[in-house]
Symmetry: C2
Subunit: 353 residues, 2 copies
């Protein structure tokens, strides 16, 4: 606490990202990174962009990337916004759309940054419980509200809502923004981008961090009606004119254009996920039905916190959330087959005691 802080600063409870310990080399299955490198074309584009032109500001409108993303989904440029990771776009969306005079609704079990953003922008929130199977039930989003946000697939539960449910949610909530956070959509889900022509209040946010293997480049995308995209631009242009550097722009365009590489890498992650889920089940674990690049597992007898600690000692980092309802679960990112073999072997040792 400092007397030089604003009341806002003093009130915040900042987000804590997954640990990045430097004491030794771990098998890192704790931040949902992609185990495969980005497209070689993205790396090449970045190396080419690392030249004397770095002395110049990037294009503040990010035109090349906006057009590449629009073309990818068959949209117009006015329906696309790009930002410094989907986290920055989420922050802008919380400021741009959610009405502080009413409650913002989101699931009780979800991405833990949402409540941090809500505090940052002084928003009231109502946590809508997921059901006993950790599924989001759209019929529960009935309270009068100033906006709704949910991830699809949800994190850390990994479960997917079908598009029909998103549509139901939108039909019941037409007067305020509904934000669908699709950070993990490419690992088996169907994107709600197809609905934005029908619903002017729908914003869909995606990231190149997971399925495009570019967590280190910080690029997020958002899709919505022109009026929503205008709203995001008003916030962004009151905050920082140039949120994406020249290298991120070049790399992101190239990554979006390399569809074959993207498909192959996501297919591999999905295949490994299915295999590892079965192996964990063979060891007595229960897993939710994951459509993400991570699994969410629990053991009926061994406390999750103990498994987390034992895995850490064995050199495997996973994510444990010490919070109600999910404190017996572990979130495990999907690594390479070799990494997951080591993870399964470690789990086997722990179960065998």
């Amino acid at each position: 606490m400092s007397k030089f802080w604003s009341p806002l600063t003093a009130s915040l409870v900042p987000y804590v990202p997954g640990e990045q310990p430097k004491d030794k080399t771990y098998i890192k299955l704790n931040t949902n990174e992609n185990p495969y490198p980005p497209s070689p074309k993205a790396i090449e584009a970045i190396q080419k962009a690392a030249d004397a032109d770095l002395r110049l500001y990037p294009d503040p409108t990010c035109e090349t990337l906006v057009e590449a993303a629009a073309g990818y989904y068959g949209l117009s440029a006015s329906q696309v916004f790009v930002g410094n990771g989907s986290d920055e776009i989420l922050a802008f969306a919380f400021a741009a759309f959610f009405n502080p005079e009413k409650k913002l609704l989101f699931p009780d079990i979800t991405y833990s940054f949402y409540k941090v953003y809500a505090k940052l922008y002084g928003l009231q929130t109502e946590l809508v419980p997921v059901n006993e199977q950790f599924q989001i039930e759209v019929a529960s989003y009935t309270a009068d509200n100033g906006g709704i946000i949910l991830p699809n697939p949800n994190a850390p539960t990994a479960q997917l809502l079908p598009l029909a449910d998103i549509r139901k949610l939108l039909d019941a909530n037409t007067e305020q923004a509904v934000v669908i956070d699709e950070a993990y959509i490419d690992f088996g889900g169907e994107s709600a981008v197809s609905l934005i022509q029908e619903y002017p209040n729908l914003l869909v946010i995606q990231t190149l961090s997971k399925s495009r293997s570019l967590a280190g480049l910080r690029v997020g995308l958002a899709f919505g009606s022109e009026e929503l995209i205008d709203g995001l631009n008003r916030i962004k242009n009151s905050f920082n004119s140039y949120t994406l550097d020249r290298l991120a722009l070049a790399g992101a365009v190239a990554a979006l254009q390399d569809e074959a590489y993207f498909r192959e890498a996501t297919d591999r992650v999905i295949a490994t996920r299915e295999r590892v889920t079965h192996e964990a089940q063979r060891l007595g674990f229960k897993a939710t039905d994951s459509k993400a690049n991570f699994i969410f597992i629990t053991h009926p007898e061994i406390p999750a916190k103990s498994i987390f600690q034992q895995l850490r000692e064995k050199g495997v980092l996973v994510r444990y959330f010490d919070q109600p309802r999910i404190d017996e679960y572990l979130r495990v990112s999907i690594g390479t087959d070799e990494e997951m073999d080591a993870f399964v072997a470690a789990l086997g040792d722990i179960v065998a005691g």
Copy 2:
């Protein structure tokens, strides 16, 4: 206007960066970019960092860059913050420190983003007039206030406050944050970083965009007491855990380490600035005493707006601000000697009518 916007979004008046027209190739003297490329070592470091590790998140604490910046000024890491350009750090500082219950003070003629940030964070402001020579008079900052911010050198007036004046300002304002925005300090000024040990309420913000020729990389630095740096981190970690990508981190560290290149490039800009100032004076222009990488000039007879338009037709872009007190001035970034020769020739033609 959209019914899906928050009241905040509707209230904003976003910043408009200098134009980046694509209709033809201009001599671009309108966004204060450095005419010389960044250090070859920075480019090399970026190319090396463009590898498979881009699949991994960057270090959220930006340790290597924080330590490089701390080492540069002989500070500890706890006195340094880094961000996505100094614009992002400014935005965080407005949120972190300025008290919305009192007025924020800044010069009436200054960086036009300040009033945009103030609106974004709901701050009251009082514009403190610069004197007839466009100089900031620290003795005018007497009103009860919730914070003070000023650029040194000031923009677009290019004039420098001596450190003794900054010290006077700090001695008179000890109970709230005082932010000195040193975007242009390396072109002839003396940094207030040397004062941060004495004044726990002083935050100094710098950028790699100007003197390090890295506008395209988006890296800003801030220096202050541990409690101020903590405050910035609380806001940042409530907004986006990873604001600097792996390439920006690598390039920025290498740029900070190449002191010889930095000195040579800034010395060249300064020499060209002095020469061009004299040439403009020979053509009848008046110029402020610039200690920045741009000059601020006016002609006693020819309207600035007309000069701006004629220069544009001749393929030279400069910045014209259509606002009270400075609407007879032009801000002209310092380019290469060849670019400035073309600029001076164009000015000569315009003056000759």
